[in-house]
């Protein structure tokens, strides 16, 4: 059965992804034979798939750690496993809130879940890959699924426009990224990141070709996380996409892109650190500041959260600039925290959608404390967490990131980051003011489906739990330190 092209390890390592692929196809086929009333079963199928994959991943964690497969193209280290768990959690939460939203939008089809699962497979390979070709293909698998999902509301002009913008700019940035990859291959003669690191170390320090490669790679990758000046697509895509998909792309693909950046910069481009740290520092400051300042003037909650997500990408870059153990742990824990608090807040935005109300204006939340006191308090908790106020989880994430740059003596960056966190408090609390101090405009309450309630419960518990008792989660996040080996 096995030969020189194919080893038993190969199948073992990608077992969770094989399961996910099987379920993705399964959802698509099963959907064809379901009546309209039974479409909710698709969400269950997808959740079962994710549960299976999570179990398989758990087994891999103990059975097959640090195995590499497919001729050293993918590596199953604990960094990869940690991030895969984050993706699985985020995707499961998104699927929970999708079923009701899709039926309100009248687009309840199975291929939605299939695309989410395929995107998940792409993300999993993005964190496992150690070879640039594998990484690029994984990135595209994730991105192409996203393009389709953003334009999933076929009759909605905004959704179509968002998808078109996202697709065109995404394809363009992929081209730039590929150019950087080809230059790296030209310099080193290999697509393996570890070999590239060796070859780069042998070259003179200010090699112009290597510098061009770093700049193009950085530009392509910054697009994916929405770093300034490559952020323009992000608010439009977030606003136009179905809210559930915005929830998804603001968390899981962002974490995957960041993991990809970590893998490329910390493993592959480590020898060129002196040339990319200044570039990223400038980008980091711009991203934080522009994200936070632009968010102040938004009246649409989806756009506000989009700019807030740009700002968060800026905070996360701090960890990469520090590049030490504290920084990497910080990024890892921040994404776990971000998955819970951001999905929590987006779940409430999704729940605002009614038959007669799009519910994406901040003004739509007026007097929420009188109509839905529970939801208003939850919103407050998630907003506090996004702003980084203890005892919520957001504080732990920000603490690690800010501490990491102080450790590496980037004091100016740390000061700017803290100032930005203060600015963010202003616009997060603008939402709170509308919810708690404005008069309600109508009497109709939110419709909370069982999925939405489950998602809210899980996100709330973890947002508070990580904030109050962070130790086990930090130890879990320290798995990602295998990146340095």
């Amino acid at each position: 059965m096995f030969n020189q092209y194919f080893q038993p390890n190969d199948i073992l390592i990608i077992y969770p992804e094989l399961l996910l692929a099987l379920f993705a196809m399964g959802v698509m086929i099963i959907d064809l034979f379901l009546d309209r009333a039974w479409k909710v079963l698709n969400a269950f199928t997808a959740l079962v798939g994710i549960a299976y994959a999570a179990y398989a991943l758990y087994r891999l964690k103990s059975n097959a750690l640090n195995l590499s497969g497919y001729n050293h193209a993918i590596l199953n280290d604990s960094f990869a496993i940690y991030f895969q768990f984050v993706f699985l959690i985020a995707t499961a939460l998104v699927i929970l809130i999708s079923a009701r939203y899709l039926s309100i939008e009248g687009e309840n089809r199975g291929d939605y879940y299939a695309l989410i699962l395929l995107s998940l497979i792409g993300m999993n390979f993005m964190v496992m890959g150690i070879d640039l070709i594998t990484l690029y293909i994984a990135l595209e698998l994730m991105a192409v699924s996203e393009y389709i999902l953003v334009g999933y509301l076929r009759t909605n002009r905004q959704s179509n426009e968002a998808a078109m913008k996202f697709f065109l700019l995404g394809a363009f940035s992929s081209g730039i990224l590929l150019y950087g990859i080809s230059l790296l291959y030209g310099i080193s003669g290999s697509t393996d990141l570890r070999v590239i690191a060796q070859r780069l170390a042998e070259r003179p320090s200010h090699d112009p070709i290597a510098l061009v490669a770093v700049v193009t790679l950085t530009a392509g990758l910054l697009f994916k996380i929405g770093g300034v000046p490559f952020h323009q697509w992000l608010p439009d895509a977030y606003e136009g996409a179905p809210s559930t998909i915005t929830t998804f792309i603001s968390v899981a693909p962002k974490a995957a892109s960041f993991a990809l950046i970590l893998r490329i910069f910390i493993v592959g481009l480590k020898p060129l650190e002196t040339s990319w740290v200044p570039v990223l520092s400038v980008v980091c400051v711009l991203t934080m500041t522009l994200g936070n300042i632009t968010a102040i003037s938004q009246s649409n909650i989806k756009r506000l959260l989009a700019y807030s997500s740009i700002a968060h990408a800026g905070y996360l870059l701090l960890g990469l600039i520090a590049g030490n153990e504290y920084g990497i742990t910080g990024i890892a824990i921040y994404f776990l925290v971000y998955a819970f608090m951001n999905i929590g807040i987006w779940t409430l935005v999704v729940a605002m959608r009614r038959k007669d109300l799009i519910g994406d204006q901040i003004q739509d939340m007026a007097g929420m404390i009188y109509k839905n006191p529970g939801a208003a308090v939850l919103m407050l908790v998630f907003l506090l967490s996004l702003a980084g106020i203890p005892p919520t989880a957001g504080f732990i994430g920000k603490y690690y990131l800010f501490a990491s740059v102080i450790q590496t003596h980037h004091y100016v960056l740390a000061v700017i980051a803290v100032l930005n966190a203060a600015i963010s408090l202003y616009y997060y609390f603008r939402v709170v003011v509308v919810m708690f101090m404005s008069e309600k405009t109508d009497e109709e309450k939110m419709t909370l489906s069982p999925g939405v309630l489950t998602s809210l419960a899980v996100t709330l518990v973890f947002t508070l739990l990580i904030g109050i008792y962070p130790e086990p989660f930090i130890r879990f996040a320290q798995n990602s330190l295998s990146l340095f080996q």
Binding site: M1, M25, G186
Partner: protein, 159 residues
């Protein structure tokens, strides 16, 4: 990488090599290596040569037929060619979007054949591994086929 056209006249074969400078043989001459010099890139030299040759040949064919050929235009010759039939109507016509769908589905299954062909060529070498791997691949494409069939994408009369 060595790019002969940019490095000036070919060095003499009997030239005494400069110290520290590496040379490689191409077209019977020794060429000094410059910035991109590495074994890996040197192996791509034939591709560069082919690229230049192909574009030269392509250019030559067009230029020669333009310069050497006879030009006797008649109204019939200048008409757009439509399988020998007299063209009717404008060229910019609207046609049903269904054609795009068919084209996309065609590409999908065309790609399948592209993968099947090399497999068939080295079937003996891959044996059972290749057989099951291909079976998996075909099953995946089959799932897509069932999907588009049930969705009615193959039904021309469906709107």
């Amino acid at each position: 990488m060595i790019i002969p056209i940019f490095t000036g006249p070919p060095a003499n074969k009997n030239l005494t090599p400069l110290e520290g400078q590496t040379y490689s043989l191409c077209f019977g001459h020794a060429w000094p290596h410059f910035a991109f010099d590495s074994d890996m890139l040197r192996s791509y030299l034939p591709i560069l040569v082919q690229l230049i040759l192909v574009s030269l040949v392509g250019f030559a064919i067009i230029a020669l037929s333009y310069l050497v050929g006879k030009h006797k235009p008649t109204p019939e010759k200048l008409m757009p060619y439509e399988c020998g039939v007299r063209p009717t109507g404008g060229a910019h016509e609207r046609f049903p979007v269904k054609f795009y769908l068919v084209a996309m589905l065609f590409i999908l299954f065309d790609v399948e054949v592209v993968f099947l062909y090399p497999w068939a060529v080295i079937y003996r070498e891959l044996l059972f591994f290749g057989f099951f791997e291909m079976l998996t691949f075909i099953l995946v494409v089959l799932a897509g086929y069932v999907y588009i069939w049930k969705k009615g994408a193959l039904d021309w009369n469906k709107n």
